[in-house]
Amino acid sequence: MKNERPREGKARVEEDTKPQKITASLNKTATSFAQVFPILIGVMLLISLILVLVPQSFYGAVFTGDEIFDPLVGALIGSVAAGNPITSYIIGGELLDRGVSLLAVTAFIAAWVTVGIAQLPAEGMVLGKRFALIRNVISFLSAVLVAILTSLTLELIWP
């Protein structure tokens, strides 16, 4: 009689057949994705708007040549900008040609990929507001620090 009792809990879960497990896994993924889908569409709409409204010529116009101020401006512009990192390298290369310091350009390209103001609402909704805010602030400061360290080390090793 002992064997006839239906199993429950962990034992029951372990007895799930492979198709049942696959269905459960797909259901879980679909539920997660359905929750996040409106946010993804929203952030893509926001990025598209930024890409259309902010011309690439804008990036060159905001640097003043100030050694202290420019890296902060670079990190700030990189944080607000959106798009493929390739674009940041191309703009960065052009900025260097126009005489903008390597320090400012490095902060710009570092912030472009590590800080996301446009993605901040989406990041906050999915990963938590506190986490998103702290992560982006620290990444902004890191972009400036990475720029300073890269420029200093370059000058020290290959003057």
Partner: protein, 164 residues
């Protein structure tokens, strides 16, 4: 993953309203933005499909206790390696990876590793030749090295500050 859906819907509704306003004010800019959005969406869809596949496989194969062992508090060097290498290898925009990160975090992934994954995405192996072309080998080497170091430092600091 727990998201307050009304917030997500409000976010989308706000952007839809902005687009409708834009269409009324300047239809040409509206069309350009829609065209950029369509291109962005078509670029993102294959990566999104990859993320969904990874999420399904993880849900199927990796039990929460295994995820916790690999990426949780006691994961140590192995956890950091998974996060940093995963970040470097992950392609596409960062927001595509949010659902996967949220799922893994719900199963025990440390905040520090989530932050490290997101920071390490700054290192783009396929784009290194372009970086070398514009900035030279020496710069590329140092820049990549510092990004790698800062992905770990960022992770540690974010976890310290997000702890309640």
């Amino acid at each position: 993953m727990t998201i307050r859906n009304p917030t997500a819907k409000h976010f989308l509704a706000l952007l839809t309203a902005i687009y409708l306003g834009l269409a009324a004010v300047d239809f040409d800019i509206f069309l350009r933005a829609i065209s950029v959005f369509t291109k962005l969406l078509s670029n993102v869809l294959p990566i999104l499909a990859l993320v969904l596949l990874i999420m399904s496989l993880l849900n199927l194969k990796i039990k929460p206790r295994i995820a916790k062992r690999m990426l949780g508090k006691g994961s140590g060097l192995k956890g950091w390696t998974f996060a940093v290498v995963g970040g470097i290898l992950s392609s596409g925009p960062v927001y595509v990876w949010y659902p996967l990160l949220a799922d893994l975090r719900e199963e025990g992934m440390r905040d520090s590793l989530v932050a490290a994954f997101m920071y390490a995405r700054a290192i783009k192996i396929p784009m290194i030749p372009l970086l070398v072309y514009y900035f030279g080998w020496n710069f590329t080497l140092l820049f990549t090295l510092y990004l790698l170091i800062f992905s770990v430092l960022n992770g540690l600091l974010v976890e310290r500050l997000t702890e309640r």
